[in-house]
Symmetry: C2
Subunit: 649 residues, 2 copies
Amino acid sequence: MNKHIDQSEFQTPQVTTGPLPASRKVYVRSDRFADLRVPIREIDLHPSANEPPLPVYDTTGPYTDPDVTIDVEKGLARPRTAWVLERGHVEEYEGREVKPEDNGGAQGKYLAREFPVRNRPLRGTGTGPVTQLEFARAGIITKEMEYIAIRENLGRKQQLEDAEKTIAQGESFGAAIPPFITAEFVRDEVARGRAVIPSNINHPELEPQIIGRNFLVKINANIGNSAVTSSVEEEVDKMVWATRWGADNVMDLSTGRNIHNTREWIIRNSPVPIGTVPIYQALEKVGGVAEDLTWEVYRDTLIEQAEQGVDYFTIHAGVRLPYIHLTADRVTGIVSRGGSIMAKWCLAHHRESFLYTKFPEICEIMRAYDVTFSLGDGLRPGSTADANDRAQFAELETLGELTKVAWDHGCQVMIEGPGHVPMHKIKINMDKQLRECGEAPFYTLGPLTTDIAPGYDHITSGIGAAMIGWFGTAMLCYVTPKEHLGLPNRDDVKVGVITYKLAAHAADLAKGHPAAHLRDDALSRARFEFRWEDQFNLALDPETARDFHDQTLPKEAHKLAHFCSMCGPKFCSMKITQDVRDYADGLSDNEKAMLYPTDKNQPHPEEARSVVTKDEAEKGMEEMSEKYREMGGELYLEEDAVKKANRSL
Amino acid sequence: MNKHIDQSEFQTPQVTTGPLPASRKVYVRSDRFADLRVPIREIDLHPSANEPPLPVYDTTGPYTDPDVTIDVEKGLARPRTAWVLERGHVEEYEGREVKPEDNGGAQGKYLAREFPVRNRPLRGTGTGPVTQLEFARAGIITKEMEYIAIRENLGRKQQLEDAEKTIAQGESFGAAIPPFITAEFVRDEVARGRAVIPSNINHPELEPQIIGRNFLVKINANIGNSAVTSSVEEEVDKMVWATRWGADNVMDLSTGRNIHNTREWIIRNSPVPIGTVPIYQALEKVGGVAEDLTWEVYRDTLIEQAEQGVDYFTIHAGVRLPYIHLTADRVTGIVSRGGSIMAKWCLAHHRESFLYTKFPEICEIMRAYDVTFSLGDGLRPGSTADANDRAQFAELETLGELTKVAWDHGCQVMIEGPGHVPMHKIKINMDKQLRECGEAPFYTLGPLTTDIAPGYDHITSGIGAAMIGWFGTAMLCYVTPKEHLGLPNRDDVKVGVITYKLAAHAADLAKGHPAAHLRDDALSRARFEFRWEDQFNLALDPETARDFHDQTLPKEAHKLAHFCSMCGPKFCSMKITQDVRDYADGLSDNEKAMLYPTDKNQPHPEEARSVVTKDEAEKGMEEMSEKYREMGGELYLEEDAVKKANRSL
């Protein structure tokens, strides 16, 4: 049932604002474009760390900037409108009238309040480039590209300047990750279709971001009300909440009534690209009867949403009539909602899908607003049993064919992927996608690596997501603990985002992303040095880390104590390691060589073998002094250190 | 601080009993040994499923059998004593006196109550085989081996008998998983050291279980009080709770006072093997001062714990003096507690570790009670930065050397592994372990694939665990959300266990374990057919799955409704798929071939390409009837079905 919505009851959405713990928003200026300000979050460390603040990628938009006044009724500032206008080849026009069916016919007290501000939309005039792909091909570096180059470079400069540190190792499976990201590199990756910058010209509130195999792995959070539950206020709050914890993109998957108005509130307040599945709204417009869908209704919906500023559309154009019967023997048939709708339509009319037959016309609309294609996998497997079957791969081959059509029209394209796939079948998906789709970015849901853990599918899928991200997927669509069971609430959204952030980061590390390990190393140092506050602040979720710690050791003084809650105050492994370090510092190189011969020119450790024998070791020991004993003593906390620590907390 | 414990305050541990939802414990009898009863859990499905109950592996012991009266004060029944005695070569003896230092000197109201029953221990006489390895080498099939063969076979018979189903595909990286497990196979795997059956002759309460690469992947849950927090009652409850959710093994990592008494309560009530790290207790006996440890104190502790019935000991005998300085340049030094203790001892005395020099004597003790070695990785990396370094691999090479020594003494051996390892460095660990340690079972902690998510390290490590389990790790040591932050409580234990169960199962699926997919498929069918109750009951955690569902759609009637909570009652993708299936049923083979030519003899789908062209497809469509339209209609719930469903709920 629809929630009872009354205009008088409608509340201004409450969103979470303010900086994250120990964090400041810093804006980096561009040398190329004076008006660019690229936000970065800097995490301050405890003075005892003697380390500079750690810069981290920031998806949170102005909500974490105390200098910006947030007014959800007005929406965010729209700096990108000027960028679009100065490039030309666009026109402002009146735009489509909002019709009652746009909100599912909701009326009176059931109609969600309209967003208070109405902007006239822009569209391409067809006289020159409009999409980022068209600009890139023309050799033009847009402000979006420059913005992204600065944004992605985070930490790399430091990495390169620090001669002591080696460039990260990794296995990238053929990706081409440069040590330093330039605007030219961004442009070239977009030009060859290997990366996309979802950025509808009518969503000037967004902070540009790139999705591609040679950039940081991105994540997407799904929100949206359903016919059964939730409201506009909740969805706007979830969008801001998801970006607060790291969502790079948000999809509004609303169904039921009030889709149009809900979306307008979301987009006007979103600092990240917003994606949708337009067929959901089209279906509502024809009363939920798939057979009654027409190209005209769908086309009208595309324009409606493009004018609002949706940045990418999931379009299930690969669900072709000839493939539908291939799903009949599946354990779980067709589980994609969009795929099911189109399958039903195809069967009812015994016609090829209009998404396929009208694909060139769809491209023209996408191009006019620079809406990025997210070619949907309507035949994705809904169970591990159905993974990598003929239906799935037949569709993927068609998506490859359509990618080229979209590129010919100047449109940006990414490709959606599964779903439910056991581990040993994951890499095949990635390899085939790269081959079929000309390296267009892959955007996968999970995949879930087993079906037996409903309630924990953020984890069953986080495993698959980390792996496929490593193999080359450019964006991971999150899965929340409520997957298969219900609509995610605020807490589920956070757990889903954090899980996918850590999966994406694990992928970046494994790919050998040059600066990815800087945060791991900073946190590991904090852990080793018992800087609890730093450990919390550097964590993806500082609040949960602190809360878990405080459940065992709630005292403030413990936050800088030289023991951890697992071992207690008397014995701690990390404290002992301090002694080891002091001991090793006292050994000469000759002494070390006597103990365990090492050679920096030796092959990679996993190939090397230790060659020291028991006899050799004993001989070495005899010759060595009792240095350690002299250093001796326990390293209990000195009172001074505690005082100093508490002062700064 | 130690919790205040008063004899009068001591409560009998409260544990959770009773069957899991829709589950019955079934005992399978052996043809070979008339007294064997192997427990299996059967999950009943809704009558509309028309499927037999699904058998699943059962770690829960008698606690889920309503016919067994549980009395924690008496402990579980001890059937294995008779098995051990009838094999001979053992003697009952008085056993070591419990000393005050066994409980850290706790006295009076600080001393935890002794377990009420005292059993005289058994030990090998040296006149013949005692360990499972010795029996296996002698060609003898023990009752434990037969028990395990029946236990592991779960579902495989059904699988093999069902000619319609194909044997699971998978990639096992050189493992040799047979379609059917025989007692002879169990024996042979144990004989060659490729599997272990942790089963101290003084832990006759346990239900035998095997750990090896060619068997189901097992998981271990760590519990244990610390000097800072928790009590005997909590730890016994956690042990039962962990096995209820699927822990195959439990390690008691208690520190501080009352270690002896806590352990006795745990072992006497444990249906699964119990592991410990004896150096923890030895350290308590010398007042927490690592330098004061002696071989005599350690040896006495081994015997104390072996007499109590500990099934496997973590022994960090690979932390050799010559390797210690290799950790000095690490980001996080030595993070293993056992490793740190021994490093400190080695440095203080400037001597080789007594665990290494006295290793043959340790073997003699292990053999006399059939305690399995878990050779500890005291130099494991504590951060991704330190993964796969020389210190770690030098130790692993030594563990390989010690494996052969232990085998020569007739002892069972497994090898512990990391730790913190980025994804691209995981497989190297597995491959090197197999090579160095003669395929002895690998038992890994995680590994954590990134350091930046404290509070979510069950997930950062679940990713690594699933992968290394796939690659060949035989047992995965769980990590809870509290890792690095505090001691896990009951809820954390459950989340850790479920996370590792799903990781282990994902590994079994990917390895191509013959029957692993039966549960996935049963759950997927339940999902597809909207049998919500079955979906919950088949889940690893039925309670959480049900709870999450009910948060969105609390009505009982919805549990068999033909829509899910994501889509609402009007439109549901799964319902549409029913239509597709009906449609495909109506197509002749010729019609199907016209649409999309498939051939069962074609190569594996990922290699095949679809060959249908648009023209071919259109030609096919023209020739086809309007079958689908005739079938038509929505498939809403019939009242009858709802009534029937509710009746059985």
